[in-house]
Symmetry: none
Subunit: 215 residues, 4 copies
DNA sequence: CATGAATGAGTCTTCATTCAT
DNA sequence: GATGAATGAAGACTCATTCAT
């Protein structure tokens, strides 16, 4: 995975304006091909074709197909992580319920902004050094959420990092189901509220201690 | 995906003992190759070799590579769905807290029985008619959980199906994080309890109505 | 070069008769393409085409193009080394002049048996782990010649191995010139005699000691 | 090969100082890339980069990659041929033994001046119209040596051209072995003397006639 | 029935060469 | 003139699938 890290890195940065356009086109094309044809049919030729360039150009900027896909994935994850980080830093010191609704909103908004894209890239994460990449971004989000939680005005958490990871997972799972697309319509409609409810209940219960537990 | 459905079906049923053994060997081999080499290197030749047969024999039982992989995936999902269904039917009429802990235990046990396998098959699900297959099994689990929830002795749910789907998602997400392997050790250790807490809190809050809401 | 050794080795040995035929056809085709088109145009596709098979078959037996070429080269060098070894072992204990003419005859006969082939393979030796391969065969010949020289009935050599290497070089060089094809006809005609003369003079002078030297 | 001749010729002569510098840089770069990366990785881009220019500039001076390589090879062969010609013209009328030692010295000195370069360019010679080029230079050397031999004060040669070609071959072969690098150290050390001995013996025997032959 | 050799379409990737800036 | 981005033909290699033995 470390060896891969080197080989997954872009080749050169665009110095001319033309280059930037080409790269952008490649990114867009990669996502399109990915969504329409699936990862296994997402070939360099097809990407280049849809981008309106040639394979050669693709390889001018990325040492191999996976490097391109990794770049696209990275940009996507960057967007999500950034959105979450922003939401988290804006809600430090607030009560838990506000934190949760802000977090859910930010996450869902970003994740569902382009459902097809999110979905397609999910598969990309699997192959590739995807695990490593995903872990890195999860870490970023985890840190942001944990630090926000630790600042809650109305709660105290023993293991903010672990709790944050559960929170994250509990958001990702249902969203995944939604993205996969076969869920009934009301599921999508109710998702924001349900997630908010789910997480609020969890965090508040955490705050109140498990001892009080049994309902 | 509908077209694929036909072609993904196994070719003939094992009428002889020998056939059954060969098929079993192929399944085991497929999982091994999948875990050790990754989906993209999981070739028919390699599978057959590790199973101790020839490609020819593989094609005797499956019309193509994907059919084999689909069968393996199906069996895996069957195991999980079965375990959940069993747990659900055994806890009908019980209070919510018991349901949750039974559900979490069954799901985690089955899913983590062979982490490598779960992980490898995840990728398989993506390609293939994975979405369809996953949806079908999710449906099974959803129905089982919803029906269990509807029978709870101490709660009433307006939309058991939707609630069940959230419950399912909230379990899958964190497990996914665990399977991806980069989570800290204490995350894995605490997972059963945290999931139980998460879901219990959610379901009880649901029962109590949201109106009472704000903490 | 050691790393290359593994990767240059053939992939599997033919167990069916069909295989042997395919391999033989590939060898012949490789030489033909090599002679007619040159090393840089000697592609796997072209070789397979001329062999009347498919690229796939080529890769069934050789892990890459160079492995095939290396095998062909090896067979060729084997022929030469074998011929020289035979000649050498048959002339142990003889006087130097007989040794030389036998050596020259054996070498020239074998080397010129198929001039085009010899020529084409020469280029192959350059690229590839050719240096290693060539060195190995040169060693074989060197040993054979040195041991023959050491047994001469009418001479004594201080450093048979070095002397043998000079002898070898002195034969190879002129033959090379001949093979490259632009030498006048009389050069080819006179070559056997001239080489014999060259080497005999050298070895006898060696025998007589250099001290006597200056003419 | 004749068609190639035209296209292998440099594009324009360096009329400005800047041009000369660029060309020189390209030559040096070509040799460096050649020695470090091998012929097959010796690309125009890499050459230009190492020369500190752009591909575009390369094509300003040479119509294609091979023309550049040919120019480099030509310069190299020119150096050798020139050295030999000089040595030959300086030793006209001398006795054979002096001629030989001068010839061997000049040849070895020039050829071993930069072994890596000699070696790398050897491969270049193969591809390209290498045979033609090599033949042309061999001719030059052959003429020079033959004419020197013909002027020997103490010998008469029936076919100076053929004899010279043998002499040339007998020098090239052992040097080749040395360049390929796997020969024992003492081989390299003894080479000048051995070559001198070899050729002197040959030429003197020639002079004395073969009739006297059998030792 | 089992075997594994053969097939060849389809991938990724490189690189000489051109040409707009 | 110089630059380096773009091009795309061409090569190496893989692998699902078929079929003669």
């Amino acid at each position: 995975m470390c060896a891969a890290a080197a080989t997954l890195r872009p080749r050169k940065s665009p110095v001319q304006a033309r280059s930037a356009a080409t790269i952008e086109a490649l990114h867009v094309a990669a996502i399109q091909v990915l969504t329409r044809e699936g990862l296994s049919h997402c070939t360099t030729t097809r990407i280049a074709a849809r981008a309106g360039t040639s394979v050669g150009s693709l390889y001018q900027y990325y040492p191999n197909r996976d490097a391109l896909l990794a770049a696209v994935l990275k940009k996507h994850l960057d967007g999500i992580a950034g959105a979450v980080e922003r939401a988290c830093s804006e809600h430090r010191g607030k009560p838990v319920s506000l934190m949760v609704s802000a977090l859910v909103t930010a996450f869902l908004t970003e994740k569902l902004r382009d459902r097809a894209k999110s979905n397609a890239l999910y598969a990309v994460g699997q192959e590739l050094g995807g695990a490593a990449l995903a872990a890195r971004f999860r870490k970023r989000i985890d840190v942001a959420v944990a630090s926000m939680l630790a600042s809650a005005s109305d709660a105290r958490f023993d293991h903010p990092a672990t709790t944050a990871l559960i929170v994250l997972g509990a958001m990702v799972g249902p969203v995944q189901i939604l993205l996969e697309g076969r869920a009934p319509a009301e599921f999508g409609a109710g998702l924001p509220d349900e997630l908010t409810l789910l997480l609020t209940a969890y965090l508040q219960r955490h705050r109140d201690g498990r001892s009080r537990g049994g309902l």
